[in-house]
């Protein structure tokens, strides 16, 4: 156990976390040259394309140190996006240490700060690492000061590396041995293993990534899931090197996977403790808090005949994504679909993309909304995640919206822009701190303003330099109203949204203008109105087409003309027929495009 080191790598997106992990794998001979595809830890296609890690992954490496001893490194990868910060805390709970990788040119960003604080809260030893030291713009001295000032950890000894070229990597491996403590645990005690992650494998069934804290797990052992009391037999266990490698035993302090033949990942809940069925432990491990979805949106198949396929696809996705929630929803405009709950906007985008790409579904996603607490005049409090379910204004006593604490780091020259943006988004400034050339800002912001376009706007007003992270604080009363959209006089339920009263006029106008851009001209004039109740706030009109007829058609290639019509019909399938008007898919997300140039 003295030679085990369990650690995570914490970094902002693009600061080189996955590349560094690759370098470790290569250095320790985990894969042959031929097997080494770049960023092996990001295995999903989507993860690789977007350059982000979504699911926690682990890899065990054997490192022969300068002192001649062999060390076992378990690297537990962490996602780098704010939506998945909860997965970060689950990864960290399996470790004794963490590498804080900071881009030596970009400096500290909000994401690294938030994740680093999580690591410190978990009593992890944090080793700062300066990456991209080979870049001409690298300024390690400045970044060291930033790390010390912003995060408050000693950074003078930070190892300087280039994950890209491999420079400094051997020194870093040695420093990991010295700087990160070995695991502690009761080797002879009853088994206690923490489930870090569970996923569904088509061949093996449910696979769980575990960290053994006390005792050991052997193949064939009867184990018990402590929260459910269910017993299962371990049919297979092993480690990732990063190839899946079958072992007989996972000893105290080790990280590896177990297979029990389960078919439902909810039977092996993340954060739960596994113990021995014969000699069970008295108390489970502390585990970690499971967060609730914060962003909800309706998803509807464009073709209503696809509903059953959509249901199947969601249930399959859910096998590997316990944070995805869904329940059936019916919309007058869009028919049958599901109300889905996500950790955040990126999570939503990723789910939508996977459904479309892996399950070949054509979906309409409605404007995302947060969860409101609604108190009616009879004193009842309900949670509303869908504007259509907002009770009648007459019965409303109070609507409470979720408030977050936003931590923003931004270079001084953009501070004015960022503050203006936060105030426009109804933010209240709590703290502002000068940290060299960077400023650290703390704002309280309504989450519903953040889910719309805050992140994009923040990037654009700071030329991409601002970074941002948030945590949920509380629900708080606000003057909120339901903004409806009427198309040729008819309310389209799927286009409604909940907005602050003071923003309703502006947002209604923007939304009506944006919808005008998205709805194609057709045979009829299309009137778009934004309204609160019966009060019309804004109106735009999509002019009717003057005509739509092929000028000339004499015999000849009729088949080509027929195929053209058939193709047009195919294109129309991607639109939703609303009475006699056709509304394209993206119109339902129009509010996200407000203020953006097309």
């Amino acid at each position: 156990m003295q030679n085990i080191r369990n650690f995570s790598i914490i970094a902002h997106i693009d600061h080189g976390k996955s590349t560094l992990a690759d370098r470790f794998i290569q250095h320790c001979g985990g894969l042959t040259e031929r097997e080494m595809s770049e960023q092996v830890l990001d295995s999903m296609d989507l993860e690789r394309e977007r350059g982000i890690t979504i699911k926690a992954q682990s890899v065990r490496l054997e490192y022969r140190a300068v002192d001649g001893q062999i060390y076992q490194f378990n690297i537990i990868d962490t996602p780098g996006h704010v939506d998945f910060s909860y997965e970060v805390s689950r990864s960290l709970s399996a470790c004794e240490g963490a590498l804080l990788v900071v881009d030596a040119a970009q400096g500290v960003e909000a994401q690294s700060v938030a994740n680093c604080f999580t690591a410190i809260e978990n009593n992890l030893e944090v080793l700062p690492v300066l990456n991209k030291i080979d870049l001409p713009s690298a300024d390690p001295e400045k970044v060291i000061v930033e790390i010390e000032e912003i995060i408050g950890i000693e950074a003078m000894d930070a190892v300087r590396v280039s994950a890209k070229t491999g420079q400094g990597v051997p020194e870093l491996l040695e420093q990991i041995i010295r700087g990160i403590p070995p695991p502690k645990g009761n080797v002879t005690g009853p088994l206690k293993a923490l489930i870090i992650d569970s996923w569904f494998d088509n061949y093996l069934g449910v696979v769980s990534l575990v960290r053994v804290f006390d005792g050991a797990i052997n193949t064939g052992d009867k184990i018990r899931v402590m929260s459910t009391g269910q017993n299962h037999e371990i049919t297979q266990l092993g480690v990732f090197t990063p190839k899946r490698t079958v072992r007989q035993t996972l000893a105290t302090g080790e990280v590896g996977y177990v297979v029990t033949g389960l078919k439902d990942i909810n039977a092996a809940p993340v954060g739960d403790t596994l113990t021995s069925a014969r000699t069970p432990a008295a108390t489970p491990l502390a585990g970690f808090k499971i967060i609730q979805p914060r962003v909800f949106a309706g998803m509807f198949p464009v073709d209503s005949g696809e509903f059953e396929n959509f249901r199947d696809a969601l249930s399959k996705l859910k096998l590997n994504d316990a944070s995805l929630h869904y329940e059936p929803e019916t919309s007058q405009a869009l028919g049958s679909g599901f109300r889905c709950g996500f950790l955040g906007m990126l999570h939503m985008e990723i789910v939508q993309e996977r459904l479309e790409r892996e399950y070949d579904l054509d979906l309409i996603t409605t404007t995302p909304t947060v969860v409101y607490e609604v108190e009616t005049t009879d004193g009842q409090v309900t949670r509303v995640d869908n504007p259509a379910k907002l009770p009648d204004p007459g019965r409303l006593k109070e609507i409470r919206e979720p408030i977050i604490r936003a931590d923003i780091l931004v270079p001084q020259e953009y501070i004015g822009n960022v503050i203006t943006l936060c105030i426009e988004k109804r933010g209240i400034q709590k703290r502002m701190q000068y940290l060299g050339k960077q400023m650290s800002l703390e704002f309280e912001l309504p989450l519903n303003e953040v889910v719309l376009d805050f992140f994009d706007r923040l990037k654009s007003v700071s030329r991409g330099y601002a970074s941002f992270d948030y945590t949920y604080l509380r629900h708080q009363p606000a003057n909120l109203v339901k903004l409806d959209i009427l198309i040729n006089g008819d309310r389209v339920d799927a286009l409604s949204c909940i907005v602050h009263y003071d923003m309703a006029m502006k947002r209604g106008g923007e939304l009506a203008r944006k919808l005008k851009e998205f709805i194609p001209r057709q045979m009829f004039e299309v009137a778009i109105q934004a309204a609160i109740g019966s009060k019309i706030l804004a109106r735009t009109t999509v002019k009717a087409l003057r005509k739509n007829v092929t000028a000339k058609c004499y015999g000849g290639d009729i088949t080509r003309k027929r195929k053209l019509l058939e193709k047009q019909k195919e294109g129309k399938k991607r639109m939703k027929q609303f009475g006699s008007i056709e509304i394209p898919q993206k119109a339902f997300m129009a509010i996200l495009h407000v203020g953006k140039e097309e």
């Binding site: 003057r546 000028a551 004499y554 015999g555 290639d557 009729i558 088949t559 027929r562 019509l565 019909k569």
Partner: protein, 381 residues
């Protein structure tokens, strides 16, 4: 019962290809074209195609292109003689030849007339030199006028003029003037249509600046009024005729979903199977060289397929709904082999949308239905 039959003959060369044209036409270049070789290829094509039309009567012949008026008078005569000897032409058979004002002299027109051509269709496009240049035409406005005069002198009493509107830089008065000039020549027939940018053309790669949609609409409205006032009947989306008996027989056959045999490079045929009423479409090799090499063999076809099921209905609608007169349920059933009841719901939808009306057993597009014909056709996809 088999539908009426028409014969189309394609002539694939032009002096120069126009930038908006998506027909099978090829500039003749310095080498010219091999008239005798092409006529021989047409002869063997026809010979090989005869069994497919058996001894059915042919109601119309249309020699289109390209620029068929590049054919010598003798060549045209030779070709028509051959056709008359092989095919049962109806006594009042309409025989049309397309002429380009850039290849139009009185003698040649007279020879065409003498050879049996009884209708001339002249591709005027515009009488405005600026517009003609923008369209890349080889002729100017005086040649356009001369061509019409020659046609009359040559004895043609059935004349069509092709005029295109909403041209690059064209104003409403420009377009009206073009049409006014055309009307002053009192042609029996006018094809007046809006310029469209077709894929694969020079204009689609390098789009000209066209008048805006509202101008296009004003042109169309002004033109309609002018034509109506001059006594022309708008019997099809872009076709106007002075009298019922000068409607274009050949084109009407397309629009009423009749059969046609198309011979020549790139020509399309539609032929009903006498046994089961199935519809076969054939396309001949588009390249003149390939066509001439393979003519008379099965290799002269570049494609050959059956149109089946509801595709037939859509192809029928694509044609028949262009006609102001529309179609009767009998015509639909005869031409498609399907009962009208199978599309009744779609017709009712069209009625609900105000795009279709039924008058005296005839199902026809309303004025609005003609205006939004593509939307109407979507009902039948």
């Amino acid at each position: 019962m088999l539908p009426p039959l028409a014969l189309y003959i394609h002539f694939p060369w032009c002096i120069r290809k126009c930038p908006y044209c998506d027909f099978n036409s090829h500039g003749v270049g310095h080498a010219g074209f091999d008239e005798a070789g092409y006529l021989a290829a047409l002869a063997s094509d026809l010979e090989m195609s005869l069994p497919a039309i058996e001894s059915r009567e042919v109601r119309s012949v249309f020699i289109g292109g390209g620029t068929p008026s590049l054919l010598s008078g003798a060549g045209a005569g030779h070709m028509l003689q051959l056709i008359e000897s092989k095919v049962a032409l109806a006594p009042d058979c309409e025989i049309t030849l397309e002429a380009n004002p850039g290849a139009a002299d009185l003698r040649r027109f007279a020879e065409y007339r003498a050879a049996g051509v009884n209708r001339l269709s002249i591709g005027i496009q515009s009488f405005n030199d600026t517009a003609l240049r923008a369209l890349g035409r080889v002729h100017d406005s005086s040649e356009a006028r001369a061509a019409i005069v020659h046609a009359r002198h040559a004895g043609f009493t059935n004349l069509n003029l092709d005029i295109i509107h909403t041209l690059p830089g064209q104003t409403v008065p420009d377009a009206v003037a073009d049409l006014q000039t055309a009307i002053e020549f009192r042609p029996e027939h006018l094809s007046w249509y809006q310029l469209t940018i077709e894929p694969g053309t020079v204009f689609s790669r390098n789009p000209p600046i066209l008048p805006d949609e509202d101008t296009g609409w004003e042109i169309q409205e002004a033109g309609r009024e002018l034509l109506a006032a001059a006594g022309y009947e708008n019997y099809e989306i872009s076709a106007w005729a002075k009298a019922e008996d000068t409607h274009c027989v050949h084109n009407l056959n397309y629009w009423r979903f009749g059969d046609y045999l198309g011979i020549g490079a790139g020509a399309h045929s539609k032929l009903s199977n006498p046994l089961n009423g199935g519809i076969r479409r054939e396309v001949r090799q588009a390249s003149p060289a390939e066509y001439m090499r393979y003519s008379g063999t099965t290799a002269m076809l570049s494609s050959n397929y059956l149109v089946e099921g509801c595709a037939i209905d859509l192809e029928f609608m694509l044609n028949a709904l262009r006609l102001r007169e529309g179609f009767s349920s009998a015509l639909f059933e005869e031409r498609t082999g399907h009962a009208l009841a199978t599309i009744r719901d779609r017709i009712e939808q069209g009625q609900d949308l105000g795009l279709i009306e039924i008058q005296q057993e005839c199902i026809r597009p309303t004025v609005k239905g003609q205006r939004y014909l593509n939307d109407l056709l979507q009902l039948f996809v």
